[in-house]
């Protein structure tokens, strides 16, 4: 009987481990302003500001792009301030590069009216994760690596400057 049980244990080990042992979870920070050659983004108009994203610019994504099993998490870090001293919020939308409709990704990150160039507001990664919407759609687009982001200030003033924008993505890769 002991031999039978040992065999069962071995089979459990093989079936349980074999299929998915060789996968790992990796995170990378994509510096949107650096990668797109912008010193800052001014969200001055009602249309917001659009930036192209190619995640293959990041070594971690590029090295693993054929083995991505899943996009696990996404979040942002940003430094920004209002130029007209009014409280507002910033939304970030995404779409595949092209004419697909924009989809909301970051919903209403707050920017205080007292923020200035010398004293900017920070959107932390932790805070941003709670504001993420439509994550399943984003997972599909992000696996392709190429997309566009649109940043837009709302609540009527549309006078926000973004001086740092980091897109942090966590992926699971495996063979």
């Amino acid at each position: 009987m002991r031999m039978h049980i040992a065999t069962t244990f071995s089979l459990l080990l093989l079936f349980g481990v074999g299929g998915c042992l060789v996968s790992l979870t990796e995170s990378f920070d994509y510096d949107v302003l650096l990668e797109t050659g912008n010193e800052f983004l001014d969200l001055d108009g009602t249309d917001g500001e659009t930036v192209p994203i190619d995640l293959s610019d990041d070594d971690t994504f590029d090295e693993n792009r054929d083995d991505i099993k899943n996009v696990d998490r996404v979040g942002f870090e940003a430094d920004l301030y209002t130029k007209d001293d009014l409280d507002t919020v910033v939304d970030i939308f995404f779409r595949k590069k092209g004419s697909d409709p924009w989809v909301l990704l970051l919903d209403a990150a707050p920017v205080s009216g007292v923020s200035t160039a010398a004293r900017q507001d920070l959107i932390s990664y932790k805070q941003s994760e709670t504001l993420i919407r439509n994550f399943e759609l984003f997972q599909q687009v992000a696996e392709g690596g190429v997309m566009e982001l649109k940043l837009k200030a709302r609540d009527g003033n549309d006078q926000v400057r973004v001086t740092r924008l980091i897109l942090r993505i966590t992926i699971t890769v495996g063979t």
Binding site: M1, V17, G19, L21, D29, R73, T170
Partner: protein, 173 residues
């Protein structure tokens, strides 16, 4: 998540009562703590663990062990030092422990784990664990030391993996 933990606690008590009625000195309850290491997970650092288990002696060489383990992953940081909250994990498993003479056992189990991320919320995933167990009798209790490997199946054949080192006390009835 707390409701799941409560349900498992009730299940352990029911198993305790059932086993106690069925046969004397063939059932144990135990609690354990320890440390765990996420394996190749960029968004989780090592941290503590805590758990509860029951043991049912089915045969001289075989115990059945339902258990629940709360895994406390440590937070990580972005490249600029911002906090990245680690996933919260609770693992539920039913293990079989095979005794190899003396105090040494090998153990393997199946179950599910709830992996809680801020974006996706808590999601239940199939999980598997295997390892060793050492039961050292000390008076009325048994010291139970068990290193284990936990594999949580996530998406598309991918997984999150943890190395667990558990130590606790079991009380046999």
């Amino acid at each position: 998540m707390k409701r799941n933990g409560l349900a498992v606690g009730v299940l352990l008590l029911v198993l305790c009562a059932t086993a106690t009625n069925a046969s004397a000195e063939r059932f144990a309850i135990g609690a354990y703590g320890g440390y765990q290491w996420p394996i190749v997970q960029d968004d989780a650092e090592p941290g503590g663990l805590f758990g509860l288990k029951a043991k049912i002696n089915l045969a001289p060489a075989l115990d059945l062990e339902p258990n629940v383990t709360w895994i406390n992953n440590g937070d990580t940081e972005t490249s600029s030092g911002g906090e990245v909250p680690a996933p919260e994990v609770i693992s539920y498993a039913l293990n079989a422990n095979l005794k190899f003479g003396g105090m040494l056992q090998i153990t393997a189990g199946l179950g599910w784990s709830s992996v809680d991320l801020p974006i996706t919320g808590s999601q239940n995933k199939f999980s598997f664990n295997a390892g060793l167990a050492l039961e050292i009798p000390v008076g009325p209790v048994v010291i139970d030391i068990s290193p284990r490997f936990l594999l949580i199946n996530t998406e598309s054949g991918a997984s999150r993996k943890h190395g667990l080192l558990m130590a606790g006390l079991n009380l046999w009835f």
